[in-house]
Symmetry: C2
Subunit: 126 residues, 2 copies
């Protein structure tokens, strides 16, 4: 028996906080020693994680949870987002949760349209 919430509850609480623009509250679900495997590589620790994820959360205009499942220790989410530079930017996250906090996260999303938007903005800074 445990009084800690199951992994899916933690994952969903985190998701609803960051998509709801409350990143400070979102961070209460993140372990200080989180490792996060993102497309650009591994991030170690809550500060590095926040430095990656909070700027993304600020450019999200719409977020829609497509699917969410979990068991005692892990959760798997897929969502769609519209962002300021890129509409239709889905992502998937696999969380490992211990004692109510996310200790590992693997994030999958397509960097290609963000790279293209960055290149276009650099060519036309108007």
């Amino acid at each position: 028996m445990t009084e800690t919430p199951d992994a899916l509850s933690v994952a969903l609480a985190y998701y609803h906080c960051w998509t709801g623009k409350d990143f400070a509250k979102a961070m209460t679900y993140i372990d200080p020693d989180i490792t996060c495997d993102a497309p650009a590589g591994r991030l170690r620790g809550a500060d590095a994680f926040r430095g990656f994820m909070e700027p993304f959360s600020r450019i999200v205009r719409r977020a829609e949870l497509l699917a969410a499942f979990g068991d005692e220790e892990t959760a798997l989410l897929m969502y769609d987002t519209d962002t300021v530079p890129v509409p239709g930017a889905p992502g998937a996250e696999w969380h490992t949760v211990r004692a109510g906090r996310i200790v590992h996260m693997r994030i999958v999303f397509d960097r290609a349209p963000f790279d293209a938007a960055r290149r276009a903005a650099a060519q036309d800074p108007s």
Copy 2:
């Protein structure tokens, strides 16, 4: 009561076929009228789906299922792959299953390293 398999069983059977290089058998789990939302856009029908996914399956050197969940109608998978041009290329798939076949699939993966590998190969065709 139904005699059709649940969505996760179908999703896993499909996964093990395509990662096991038996794409003909993998296609037996794909509905003829599948719609597949992939990073490059929407694919309609089994032929278009196969034209997208089978070439990818041929360049996969290693596949590892990271997480898989499902309910009666849907399944969500995340896997890691090493491919010929790109090592460490994870993907996530959200399946909707009817009567034992996948009728909708949303695939999320990062095109950026594949684009980079293609550009590098074009610059050095040796």
